[in-house]
Symmetry: D2
């Protein structure tokens, strides 16, 4: 273990939430996960099973109720917890000691359950789109690096979508800095196939997508565009954004390539400096040194977002390139990051900045 | 064989260049290929070996001289022609009956050879970048659908690059139609790994690139940008173009996603109509019906370019999506298409509009 | 076109079945395809659309009835024939001039239709398993290289399965030559994912299978084992065969690695000689030179089977390695090959010995 | 974190080697890694950087000396340790506090260095083949589950090869139990491309291997066969083994499919029981329940070996299927597992039984 890494872990140890029982200095919080057997849910359970502050108490799966998690995910052979049918009534989970619920249900499936879960006093982190456009009190849009103190007080965290995370982390330092001219931002993005979920369908059948690249819902059609616009609105910005997502044959990862028209020409050094300054304290956002560009393999398996900036057209256009692991910083990882912040733990607890070098 | 296909082949049969000998109504032309063992060269040889107008007389390969083509490309077991070291002096090839030379040598390697080959009376089709920016008489930039009668008279055809082909076919109908506002065109493009050539290198090592997406030489850095700008210049157009190429894990294919700022708002119907009209007579360019988008798998193995148009930002931005097989319409296929035109044969001779449905 | 290739095609031209009309010297036969929109069916249609003896008159698809083939397979944009619901009554197809029917329906779906189609006087080539174990008169198991004159007279050809083709071509020269000791033959085989068909399912979802290798139905569980045993039986051989199929992340191809215990030790030269002699006249079976081994990429897109032999354990075990394209020699290609034989055309008509060098 | 996992980690905490300094109850041991920038070395460094007992003090790389590890492996951005040229003289590393050296140098490169490193008092774990056939005192072949007390006393651990690990774990329970008839064992194995190392070469170029399966060095040609035979010899067994390795397009993983001829017929239940009993106490070997088969994706990212057994040919042949991650249980993971045993730490310290569910 390197010295900085050791320092980090040591730091984590001393910041543990509540002393008394648990893993050494940690007292574990009882956790339940709805929708535990999809890709986002599986990653959540994997992360939480290694998180020193989490005690997995209940897992839900409509499709696999009655089986163990290990049976559904043979990669996780020690997870012998039996899957419940995703509950609508939280009482049985509360009885089993669940204090916080992560929902990785499909879009639309948690909205109706939310009131009961909140009424039962549970803290909720929802990975679906159901509350991302919500303006209800106590609901916080959890783009961690752009959340303030409201995150710690959130009753329900609406965890951002994967595309929105990659795009917003890339454009917010520019647009909130008054650099954007208001002409259309063009955001092209490439997604790994796990972004389409675990339900088999022809477009994600290996033989169809395994050796091909395909745009889909381009221009102004994709649901994440509304999420991006809403987040810009909260930041006091508005203007046209064109968003072209593409499916490419990799399991994980999002790569966004974005052009932002500027109101005044910007030098590369100034752009680099602005981004580096904005994310100086963020453990999971890395502004790459000039000349480098992000690649999805470099963030695969980590909760990082790698960013690079360029200027073009005589400094009148800012280019930003952004890479995340769609299942981690784009879903389960950011959910845990938000939870760490809520609990007052170090933001990196149970999360890797290192990725899987080859996978 | 479908009726239209049969009609096409019948048509080909009756248009054969010179009667007398050869395959039925065809008299074959003696062909030599320089750089025959790279991906572009291999595809060329494969196409020419099935072309009714081609008699393969000589193949060159610096690296594999002395071996047979079949030995280097076990997929082509009937090609027992022995590889020569790529010649600088065309005389021995002329003696063997070579009348036309296709060069698939690396960039920079044919420029010095060209004078001797032309002086020997050979017609030349060069797949490298060496002559794409040239203004010498007799040299024609061979973007087939945009060439006029000068192609038939060309002594040397500079065959376009794969990225340039995908981008130019997508933008020319708009920019030559006076639609472009002059604000930056943003062209994002995804390339299969064969676009990087056959020389092993770390970025194209399977373990590195096989599950990842990576931008490279973005903004204004890629050599194809000069080629695109030069082609625009010949069309009387100039203006900023930002070009962001990406490597994605597929063997073949280019997908370009392009935004063109317009001087006046355009409806989708008008955009669709303009593109359909421009390519109405082009056997290898297909403007997709509204709602469809191109995918590289649909053109894999064919010489087609599939195009789709969209409008966004209130009609002020035209989006064009373009897919080609980088080794065919982006290299060897377009070379044969150009040669067909030069010889006065049907443009489709020896080329497929159908692709490989799954590969 | 190389001289041998030209000779081949010229030969084809002069052997055309019936003069009079059609493509030059060819008179096309009216063809219908049931199950045209799966992978096997799609390949069949692609091959037949380029076959000089075939006039596609009718295509069936339960799932896509009413759409055009081009709509379902955008790779084949010229195929504007509309899909029928797969008929049970052949009369309408007969009225449209269908003379031969290829069935690429799923296993079990053609058996009930067969009597009506045969009663209507149609020649039938069935790609399913329905008749592979049949001993009915007029039904021929169509492993082309091992069929005799009975193939030409067949009313129904039961086209072999992909695994069975790869294994039988590899073992028959040894077992029919009296070399097999009778101890278990071990056949391991790797299949591309298209072998599992086009219906989406979790095991063939990109994210699940795209980066992994998995055995399935190993030992004595796979249905193809009965087909192999039946074929051995027809060749007068019996004995234990252990068959271990595996799914690996490639679109196409089967690679079989087989060990055959021998009754007397054999030298490599003798093994090589036996195999080369057996397949000397077979245009689609290539016994590789000593030292080489088959790879699926070398046969991808071709109708070839590449074979290599080795001896081990002091000459007491013969190893045979076999590669085919599962959709061509393992399905649609062999179906066309059988049809060529039935029609008296050159076996190679409309079929490639060359493959796709990179795909 | 699940209760069993928590118990495991708690157990680890209390078994730390030496109290006093370090991470809580752990005192870290100074570690150096030779050949740190290949795939095996990279995985080693990644594992050790998260290992509570390891303090990374020195990393070597001939090719990248002077760069930081983070520069060579952007997935590991916190590893700012500078790479040395791989030293032949251990003195400078000893001065920096290195107490144990892991060598991931290519085969042949460590043999000459070993005497100096051992003479300097360093404990050595060598991932290359250099000492796997050695009978020198103090050298132990580190197939962990089959090592006894000699492992703890080893001065140099010869870490097994990836193929040998997968095959030996699969066959040793049968052959050491007197079940093997002595007729040839047939071991077919599939390897991910990372098994071929990180040096670019044509066979591992994406376009060549990315969609294909290929056998290589089959029969009795592969170097791992000698390693397997030597290990059998140490277990008092001898007999013919035929080993057919194949390259398949996945980044990681080995899947071995093995047939063992038996001297007396065995029931499936008896086979299952024998294997389950042999590995009952092994945290990283999982004998799957009857009916299941291992897949490489289930062990990807973990140090596990998953095994399944079948009987065939009337009980006369035992089939064993084995899956490992070639870079972990087949290389870096087993190296750490051996080191844990040497240090008296729990065998699972710093190693995952859980894998990456999708990657």
């Amino acid at each position: 273990m390197s010295a900085p890494a050791a320092a980090k872990i040591a730091a984590q140890g001393t910041t543990a939430a509540r002393p008394g029982e648990g893993l050494g200095r940690w007292q574990a919080v009882g956790v339940g996960v709805l929708g535990a057997t999809g890709y986002g849910g599986g990653e959540l359970v994997r992360l939480l099973s290694m998180h020193p502050g989490a005690a997995l108490r209940a897992l839900g799966s409509r499709q696999h109720a009655g089986a163990t998690m290990a049976r559904v995910w043979p990669s996780l052979p020690d997870l012998d917890l039996e899957l419940d049918d995703d509950p609508s009534d939280p009482a049985p989970w509360v009885d089993r000691g669940v204090e916080v619920v992560f929902s990785a249900l499909p879009h639309g499936a948690f909205a109706d359950r939310a009131p009961a879960f909140l009424a039962a006093g549970l803290r909720v982190i929802d990975l679906s789109a159901d509350f991302r456009l919500s303006a209800v009190a106590g609901v916080v849009y959890g783009l961690t690096e752009w959340c303030g103190a409201e995150l710690e007080a959130a009753r329900l965290v609406a965890n951002p979508g994967c595309y929105a995370t990659a795009v917003l982390l890339a454009i917010l330092p520019a647009v909130t800095g008054g650099l954007w001219s208001g002409a259309p931002i063009i955001a092209n993005a490439l997604s790994g196939v796990s972004g389409a979920g675990r339900s088999p369908a022809l477009p994600t059948h290996f033989v169809e997508c395994g050796n091909s690249a395909a745009p889909y819902r381009v221009g102004e059609e994709h649901a994440h565009l509304r999420e991006i616009a809403a987040a810009l609105g909260r930041a006091g910005q508005a203007g046209p954004i064109i968003f072209n997502p593409h499916l490419v044959p990799m399991a994980r990862g999002i790569l966004a390539s974005i052009s932002i028209p500027l109101c005044v020409p910007l030098s590369l050094a100034a752009a680099q400096e602005r981004y580096a300054a904005r994310y100086a304290g963020a453990p999971f956002v890395r502004v790459l040194p000039p000349g480098d560009l992000p690649e999805t393999r470099h963030v695969r398996g980590s909760n990082r977002c790698d960013l690079a900036v360029r200027v073009a057209a005589g400094g009148s256009v800012l280019l930003v390139f952004s890479a995340i692991d769609n299942l981690l910083k784009g879903a389960a990882g950011q959910a845990v990051q938000n939870w760490n912040r809520i609990c007052g733990w170090p933001e990196t607890t149970g999360l890797a900045t290192a990725g899987w070098p080859c996978a």
